[in-house]
């Protein structure tokens, strides 16, 4: 049988050329660098790094799914204090959570190589934000490395540990979706460090103090010096050229392909900047000198562009025209500094600078518009049998029955789909992890100023441990009045089913004591009930009763994620529509199962004009059967 990606990472020998995604390549680089501690809160597109590293025996490497990013970074930093190499992994949003600690520890610094790997998600393919984390790194005064390819991601991961030890502070390795979730051939290297002794002698202290701000500054100066000759910054194409494209990350690849497509290989120099903060100024100045045009290619915002324009302003370099996101010349369909880069954007920018008329292959804008008018969007949808759909329906029903038009504060997870059509447009607010209870608490204080709508907040189980507990304590202490609904599917579903403190399973797949949500809630003195959302009427009734109680209340909707349940392949139930009972459009339900309930398992048979079940898709939850007004959907137990 062929090896999985993680097996190539862990078992691959030096010299092997294997197909890895960027996250696996980073994991391999970290292993070759002798990493001993790896922690993360899962978040797309970063999750496969610690997932991969968790397959290494824990005598060699400690791995952890932490409850949130700041705890995760604190743990990894502790390993660094003890002289070990440590990696902490997060998505861009996670850097916000970890930032308080990062900005503190970066003043005092650390010891063993500490690499904070942040995976940004330009275009927000699997995020609500398309953050450029380099600006946060700059604010925290932490150096940034940006790989352009999967192969370079491995090499940079190794180098990042070395740089960190040289400057005695953390280094950020910034990936993006098109690195983390791209596959390419990677040549594996050999392990460069075998040492695994943790040592924290008395007298080694790691403190933060205002005056240490100077240390952080000096560390950046040192990093800039190291970066000048590190090999991650280089140029391609003619030595002397009027035009240079300064690129970082995958934009290097798009620029290179655009130059080849336009046949400008002899005209344009590519300047690849791999160390984007602090900039290697001497290297960049050597390429700025004598230029007429400088073009910038990077994601998401104008980070190196700003740095290089500032460098230009400080040096006497003659007239250079700058084309980038600041000038608006490098822009996709969303305009400059929004969305991903691609080859097409670079072709258009280069064609403009060179006054070339370029006819792109593909459709005319008119034809594209005609086509997109024809094709309805396929937004994210919840899976067949997803317990969240049942939970949302119960909340929707309860709010309607209650009649006071409750405000629903949403939160982040698979269930953020509660903000859109597939989740009945239930949410009135949606922001970041843990925001729901805070907003609900605030709203519940506004009765004195005339706001009479009750408040419900909906959070997930993993989110509960990550960010909800302080909000609940605050709510209980300050006398808030809201219902917190916890959708407990026993796993961090959205990012690929990682375990969390309530799952009863460790990162290594071993059983551990589950920390129960209800125990925490009751420990705070907050009333708590647990209902299976598949039991939809009971679920709705319970909400109705609880929203009418004063104070803060927690209702746990507990039902395993439908995908996890499907994988266990337990006894499945067959669900079908009794065609003699379905009344079709004469029913008056408005095709409830298909057009309102909206589970992919419920389909409409246009030939018979009646409802049907797509049995290949149906998960057998049977909730639609309990909701069908004609009672036409039948659930049958099968062995």
């Amino acid at each position: 049988m062929h090896k999985m990606g993680w097996q190539d990472v862990i078992e691959g020998r030096p010299g092997d050329r294997v197909l890895l995604n960027g996250n696996e390549a980073i994991a391999r680089g970290a292993l070759e660098a002798g990493v001993r501690y790896a922690s993360s809160y899962p978040g797309s597109p970063s999750s496969e790094i610690v997932q991969t590293l968790s397959k290494v025996p824990d005598s060699e490497l400690y791995a952890e799914w932490s409850v949130n990013e700041i705890v995760s970074l604190e743990g990894a930093t502790a390993a660094s204090f003890a002289g070990l190499r440590a990696i902490c992994v997060m998505k861009a949003d996670g850097l916000n959570v970890a930032l308080d600690f990062l900005t503190s520890m970066n003043l005092g610094g650390c010891k063993g190589g500490l690499v904070v790997t942040v995976a940004d998600d330009p275009q927000g393919h699997s995020s609500v934000k398309e953050y450029d984390s380099r600006y946060l790194a700059k604010a925290a005064m932490v150096p940034v490395l940006e790989p352009s390819t999967v192969e370079e991601a491995r090499a940079m991961a190794i180098a990042a540990f070395n740089f960190s030890e040289q400057i005695k502070g953390p280094v950020i390795l910034r990936s993006v979706t098109r690195i983390s979730h791209s596959r390419g051939l990677v040549e594996l290297g050999k392990s460069v460090r075998e040492d695994k002794t943790a040592s924290l002698p008395a007298g080694d202290r790691f403190l933060t103090k205002t005056i240490f701000h100077m240390k952080a500054r000096d560390r950046l100066i040192k990093a800039a010096g190291i970066f000048e000759d590190c090999g991650f910054n280089y140029s391609e194409g003619p030595d002397k050229a009027d035009t240079a494209v300064f690129c970082s990350g995958t934009s290097l690849l798009y620029a290179r392909e655009a130059i080849e497509t336009l046949g400008l290989n002899d005209e344009i120099k590519l300047v690849k900047v791999g160390t984007t903060f602090p900039l290697p100024e001497k290297f960049i100045l050597s390429h700025l000198r004598g230029l007429k045009n400088a073009i910038f290619a990077e994601e998401v915002r104008s980070f190196i562009e700003e740095g290089i324009v500032l460098l230009y302003a400080r040096n006497n370099l003659g007239k250079i025209c700058f084309y980038g996101k600041l000038s608006g010349d490098v822009a996709g369909v969303r305009g400059p500094a929004c969305g991903e880069m691609n080859v097409d954007i670079m072709i258009k920018a280069l064609a403009k600078v060179y006054g070339i008329h370029y006819e792109a292959p593909g459709y005319t804008p008119e034809k594209t518009a005609e086509l997109s008018a024809l094709v309805p969007p396929r937004e994210y949808a919840m899976c067949p049998g997803c317990p969240h759909r049942a939970s949302f329906w119960a909340v929707k029903t309860a709010i309607a029955v209650d009649g006071r038009n409750s405000i629903v504060a949403g939160d982040i997870g698979c269930y953020c789909l509660g903000a859109w059509d597939t989740g009945f447009n239930l949410f009135d607010t949606l922001h970041c992890m843990g925001a729901g209870p805070g907003i609900a608490s605030g709203l519940s204080k506004l009765g004195r100023f005339g706001l009479k709508r009750p408040t419900v907040t909906i959070v997930g189980d993993s989110t509960f441990y990550h960010a909800v507990i302080p909000g609940l304590i605050n709510g209980q202490y300050s006398g808030s009045d809201y219902l917190c609904v916890v959708l407990d599917n026993s796993v961090t579903a959205m990012t690929g089913h990682q375990p969390h403190p309530g799952s009863g399973i460790s990162v290594y797949g071993r059983p551990v004591n589950a920390i129960k949500i209800e125990d925490i809630v009751r420990g705070l003195g907050i009333p708590c009930k647990i209902v299976d959302p598949y039991d939809n009427f009971l679920a709705a009734e319970t909400i109705c009763a609880m929203v009418r109680e004063p104070g803060i209340k927690v209702l746990i909707f507990r039902r395993e994620c439908a995908l996890v349940a499907a994988r266990k392949q337990r006894r499945k139930r067959r669900v079908y529509v009794d065609q003699s009972l379905c009344r079709g459009d004469a029913c008056g339900c408005g095709r409830f199962c298909v057009s309102v309930w909206g589970c992919p398992g419920n389909i409409w048979d246009h030939k018979t004009g009646k409802a049907n079940i797509d049995e290949a898709v149906c998960a057998g939850c049977g909730v639609c059967a309990s909701l069908c007004p004609a009672g036409a959907i039948v659930v049958e137990e099968v062995e």
């Binding site: 995020s127 396929r378 949808a381 597939t422 057009s595």
Partner: protein
Amino acid sequence: MLKPVDVLIVGVGGQGAILASKVLARAALESGYDIKVSEIHGMAQRGGSVVTQVRLGEKVYSPLIAEGGADLIVAFEKLEALRLLPYLKTGGTMIVNDQEIYPVPVLVGAAEYPAGIFAYIRSVAPDTVVVDAVNIAKRCGNPRAVNVVLLGVMARILPIEREVWEKIQLDEFVDIFLTRNRLRKKGFA
């Protein structure tokens, strides 16, 4: 010199398009290609559009295929075939699974599932191959193995030797589709 080939594999989350792209990449690797694959999984685990780009060649830089650049589009769902049509190169090949999966706007009645998709696609790509992969997979005993059936069709079109596919198939599928000797053969019939 290996001829560069750009393949787009599109479908709906849960159909197995990403797995298909992994198998294709392995087969290309065995054949000596340089490879770049880019996957977009979408936010939730299921139900959104999944677009996987596989680029093969002597040397491949960017993982992304530009509009009008795909030599082959393999669509696991009809609507997704139509959506990605602008990416097909003039003279490129389209393989479409004859399956409709309604997106949310269609389910809730806010939009129509377009009629005449094949006619539209054929007006641009006359040689489009339509495959009833769901029924083929069902007949072989595993309705979820649509991806294997489509891989079988892909295998006949791509410049990769049959022996390579057979080797890769055995490597990749033994664990995943247990039924499936028959299916494997069907896909390659």
